[in-house]
């Protein structure tokens, strides 16, 4: 039960903590980095470098009035914010952190991630329709169209990786990258997955369901206190998830670059996976600071007219090359 093997209770607790710490810290890291990029200070008063701002934020959120609007659909209004963090936490069940560290080795692991991403989309949509408010409804509609469109490209873009590694199991995908990362043969797939991941977690600049300047705060306009916190935390878990998935699918997961392994293979694996995941988390924050939000029709046209043909072409060429080489 407490052995260091896949699925033991110890691993489950460790994985839970491994997700919670970066998720809690990301709120502060993001604001500090955005402050740095935009030549201002950011939260720097509480504790060393302002890190206790996280605790202050949480206390503030807990202290707020938890209000359910009388004009809303109460059952759906209460359920909606719970779906996002639950689906995001469940996605981590199939993530292989290091050799022998993980919760389950599902042979449909990649499909599990897609399924959970599909369920997470309900959070924004149900919140939008339950709030019974024009701006929330618009936000929910945008969330539905954006997430269902970009889920398609996300699914097709990772099929190249599945062809090359011959498996849906994420652990086997990482093991298949021992001799070379998949980002080199699958660069187009990586690019599409990056953009689709950004759209799926609807983070800036693709935060059209929230679109603060256009529709106030979109689907979560009516939410306050703990329920808003659930959306907030769910979004950061989503950022952590997508930052961990990109290295696992395209950058060799726990494998060290240039043979820089050290000591125990588990600690080395955890170290390199966190380094790679942190890199992509910082990249997503930089993208937020660098790129303005596109218009809604631009986002949809870009998806269906560029991303879809590109991802299909990538799949076709990858499959043809593997067939020719007699894979």
């Amino acid at each position: 039960m407490f052995a260091l093997e896949v699925g033991s209770l110890l691993i489950i607790v460790v994985v839970f903590i491994l997700i919670l710490i970066p998720t809690a810290l990301l709120g502060w890291i993001e604001r500090r980095l955005i402050g740095f990029f935009q030549d201002r200070l950011g939260p720097n008063r509480l504790g060393p470098l302002g890190v206790m701002q996280v605790a202050a934020d949480f206390i503030k959120m807990f202290g707020k009035e938890d209000w359910i609007p009388p004009f809303s659909d109460k059952l759906t209004f209460v359920i909606a914010p719970m779906i996002l963090p639950i689906a995001m936490f469940l996605s981590f069940a199939v993530i292989p952190f290091a050799p022998g560290v993980g919760i389950i080795d599902l042979n449909v692991g990649l499909l599990w991630i897609l399924a959970m991403a599909g369920l997470a989309a309900y959070s924004a949509m149900l919140a939008g329709i339950a709030s019974n408010n024009k701006f929330s409804l618009l936000g929910g509609l945008r969330a539905a169209a954006q997430m269902i469109s970009y889920e398609v490209f996300m699914g097709i873009s990772i099929l190249g990786v599945v062809i090359l590694s011959d498996s849906f199991n994420l652990r086997e995908i990482v093991i298949a990258q021992e001799d070379g990362w998949f980002v080199f043969p699958q660069f187009i797939g990586f690019f599409i997955f990056l953009v689709a991941g950004l759209a799926e977690s609807h983070r800036w600049p693709l935060d059209l369901p929230e679109g603060e300047a256009e529709i106030i705060s979109g689907y979560n306009t009516e939410y306050s206190g703990m329920k808003f916190l659930l959306f907030f935390v769910g979004e950061y878990i989503g950022l952590t998830l997508i930052s961990a998935l990109i290295p696992i699918l395209f950058f060799g997961g726990w494998h060290a670059p240039f043979g820089l392994e050290f000591g125990n293979e588990i600690f080395s694996g955890l170290f390199w996976l966190s380094v790679k995941a942190s890199f992509f988390a910082f990249f997503f924050i930089l993208v937020r600071a660098a790129i303005p939000r596109p218009r809604y029709d631009q986002l949809m046209a870009y998806g269906w007219l560029i991303m879809l043909p590109l991802s299909l072409l990538n799949l076709l060429i990858t499959g043809a090359l593997v067939l020719v080489q007699g894979g």
């Binding site: 759906t76 599902l106 042979n107 449909v108 499909l111 599909g118 989309a121 339950a130 539905a144």
Partner: protein
């Protein structure tokens, strides 16, 4: 495993009943999603993880989203709820119940006939793929052509 199977089977039946009797369409959709998730668990316990994953991705993750999308687009509100209440009178249950009773008897008979336990063999993604593009390739091609026709039809309707 059998606890999981019967538990999710009961959840599936109860939530499907609730889908039919709800007058608020969003609540009905919520129960429908629960029912689909329960069916996915049943697939998993029967040794078909690929079918379980597809059930969640395609039905719960895509088709139900489309339903909800249409509900949001039309946004008819309380009018439909009153209409549903008017339609859902006890007398309309007689006909369907009479038709369903023979089916129930057949199901009970079939269950008693076949005492095989579940989960004899796990069917992974690879086996499903080989079956689809081996012996059933014609059916797959026909289904894809039908979908293409639907796509072209939707495009034509939306152009006007």
């Amino acid at each position: 495993m059998s606890v999981l199977f019967y538990g999710s089977a009961i959840i599936a039946i109860l939530s499907t009943l609730l889908v039919i009797t709800r007058t608020n369409i969003v609540h009905a959709l919520l129960y429908f999603i629960v029912s689909l998730l329960a069916i996915a668990v049943i697939f998993y316990t029967l040794g078909a993880p690929f079918a379980a994953a597809l059930e969640v991705i395609v039905y719960a993750g895509a088709i139900m989203v489309m339903f909800l999308f249409v509900v949001m687009m039309l946004n008819l509100g309380h009018v439909t709820q009153d209409q549903e209440k008017a339609w859902l009178v006890p007398s309309i249950w007689i006909g369907p119940s009479l038709l369903a009773i023979p089916l129930l008897i057949e199901v009970i008979y079939a269950i008693n006939l076949n005492q095989e336990t579940m989960a004899t063999k796990v069917v992974g993604p690879k086996e499903v793929g080989i079956a689809l593009f081996g012996p059933y390739v014609l059916a797959v091609e026909l289904a894809s052509m039908l979908l293409l026709a639907g796509l072209v039809g939707a495009y034509h309707l939306a152009r006007k």
